[in-house]
């Protein structure tokens, strides 16, 4: 798609609401950050390290394959780790618009006119990163990226492109969070391309603030023999988050394993789905979500499995638990098979309470009631199944441990 066509389509969608989630007035946010004194700027950068740690991104880690940090609209860090030069490329998106491997993929699997949020990202992109893992390179360490909002009422319009070449393997950890900002908007368009026999594990950890709205718009294309693993964790309170990412299993035997762990806190409005389209013969996917509805949070979890080939198998599982009478969860699974009688699609959805018998049992081992509830809730969320690298798992554990009852 040419730049001109992208702009034309985005302009036409400037006021188009999203299909799901609360509609936002984008006029309430601005994209130009305030000019700051150097000293204040430096202080914010120091604080950023701690905020990044809370979403699993260790800016001081000695050995990541690569690091990218953007605060508001400024790229603060872009590093390729020692030993990874020539194996990966990391570029700020705004500097990479003319780079062929980026240009040919921008807006190729996410439509700029999908809604007003993609339109805003197309018309006023304010950053993001482009990562390429060269063919055959199997990265021993993760690439970490942190996108942070520090200024209240800012609209951070991110566009990321991730390309994993044939036979390559990578783990990308993206932490999105705030540093002192109490409100704002994060629009995150991410287009991922998993090459033939390649694998990409994409872990995204969101920890926002009660006044922040976020609208991720993601799509992933998986080629023959490719594997895509997605881990999404939503921790802490957020004003609203709405996303319905697409995973397109195009190649023969392409696979996807998608997992989401959501903790609804405070007055959060959360509308999160996952759409997996099976086009490749022998493709398979598993989508699992664990949802806790605490306090007054309102949560919709959607899932759609689409079979466009006979030889595919997919499973969707959503388990929810309300830990407050003020919270709500709506689980909406959809299966779609048209003219492909051999397609094997299934779903399982449940919303169930914490069994008092289990709480009493753990209390009979000396745990206080709050400790027992916390242990059961952590077990229910089952973060261990995400297979996170140890350092990240420890960080997530710390985040969960520091989260008040109901989501710890």
């Amino acid at each position: 798609m040419t730049g001109e066509e992208t702009r034309r389509r985005a302009e036409a969608a400037r006021d188009k609401p999203a299909a799901f989630g609360p509609d936002l007035d984008l006029g309430g946010f601005h994209v130009d950050p305030a000019v700051r004194e150097p000293a204040e700027h430096a202080a914010r950068q120091r604080q950023a390290r701690e905020a990044a740690q809370a979403v699993g991104v260790d800016l001081g880690a000695p050995r990541p394959a690569g690091t990218f940090l953007q605060i508001d609209q400024s790229v603060i860090a872009r590093r390729v780790g020692a030993g990874f030069a020539g194996r990966i490329d990391i570029l700020p998106t705004l500097e990479a618009l003319e780079v062929p491997w980026v240009a040919e993929r921008l807006w190729s699997i996410v439509a700029p006119d999908a809604d007003k949020y993609t339109a805003a990202a197309a018309l006023q992109a304010t950053g993001g990163y482009c990562l390429r893992v060269h063919p055959g390179e199997r990265l021993e360490e993760p690439v970490q990226a942190c996108l942070m909002i520090a200024e209240t009422a800012l609209s951070q319009n991110i566009h990321n492109v991730v390309v994993v070449g044939e036979g390559a393997a990578a783990h990308v950890i993206t932490g999105c969070t705030v540093n002192r900002a109490t409100g704002g908007l994060h629009i995150g368009v991410t287009e991922c391309f998993v090459g033939k026999n390649a694998s990409l594990t994409f872990t995204m950890i969101h920890r926002w603030a009660p006044g922040v709205h976020t609208r991720p718009r993601s799509a992933v294309l998986v080629e023959e023999g490719g594997t895509y693993v997605s881990n999404y964790l939503l921790l802490g309170e957020v004003a609203s988050v709405q996303m319905y990412p697409l995973t397109l299993l195009r190649g023969l035997g392409a696979r996807a394993n998608l997992q989401a762990v959501l903790c609804g806190r405070g007055d959060s409005v959360i509308d999160i789905g996952s759409r997996v389209v099976h086009e490749g013969e022998g493709s398979a996917s598993e989508t699992v979500s664990r949802v806790i509805g605490a306090e007054r949070s309102r949560i919709w979890t959607r899932g759609q499995l689409v079979a466009r080939t006979n030889e595919c198998r997919a499973r969707l599982e959503c388990r929810g638990r309300l830990v407050s009478s003020g919270a709500s969860i709506v689980a909406i699974p959809e299966l779609e098979a048209d003219g492909v009688p051999q397609a094997d699609l299934s779903h399982e959805a449940a919303i169930s309470p914490i069994a008092e018998e289990e709480v009493s049992y753990l209390m009979a081992r000396g745990l206080a009631r709050e400790e027992a509830l916390a242990a059961i809730t952590r077990g229910f969320l089952d973060v261990g199944r995400l297979g996170l690298p140890p350092a990240i798992a420890r960080s997530v554990d710390e985040v969960l441990a520091a989260t008040p009852a109901g989501c710890n």
């Binding site: 209390m363 081992r365 059961i376 952590r378």
Partner: protein, 274 residues
Amino acid sequence: MQHPVLEVCDLSVSVGERPVLAGVSLAVPAGEVHVLLGPNGGGKTTLLMAVLGMPGYRVTGGRILLRGEEITALPVDERVRRGVALSFQRPPAVRGVSVGTLVGQILARRGLAGTTLGELSRAVGTDALLERELNVGLSGGEVKRSELLQLLALDPVLALFDEPESGVDLDSIAVIGAGMRRLLDRDRPDAAKAALIVTHTGHILREVPADHGHVLVRGRIACSGDPGALFEDIRSHGYEGCLTCRRCRNTPAPSSARPPLAPAARAAGDRPAS
């Protein structure tokens, strides 16, 4: 005077609206193992649950004392911290919480390290269970060994066992018996711990001999005495025989708590001993 580890005094307990125990009294002194016998539905599990303080088991009368301290109104976790622990007959499955995580947490609370976990686990053959979710898909023997591991980690002064040998093969009973002896310091002459064991078959008593027995029928202690003699009587006359047994009238109650005779036994007068 040293208090018994456990004293149950005239205890009445309801489950929901249904009275299950009616005026039960017994005492387990330090260093002793008592066995609790009785027919299904007689109130044995209810007594253990009430001593532990599990929700749903409502004390409607009487008192429970641990080493002289009344614990009747304490919540379950407080009782456990004071030294009471129960090996459940059928513990609930707790998904997402592993055996090792829970036992590690118990040991950490006591200031003990992971090496202790390894040593205890080897002693009761639970190394392969540490990563497993609590009671999820475990065999009968695995459940009992997991329970025993948790009790070893808790190191209680009063250990309650609800049918520790049910669903367990003979080899595993030996392992469980060894673990129970270790838990209760049975090989030490100065053992100060106490245990109350519910058993139907009595197999576990070959591994952990009991000092005293009680027969609980229809919510009351019908008889107390030598465990071997009690078993013989029950084999000969059944549990109903305990209600009409003359010998029960002369059975000395352990320690300070003399069990009241069941009304049926009192009414039976001088009927022949069962």
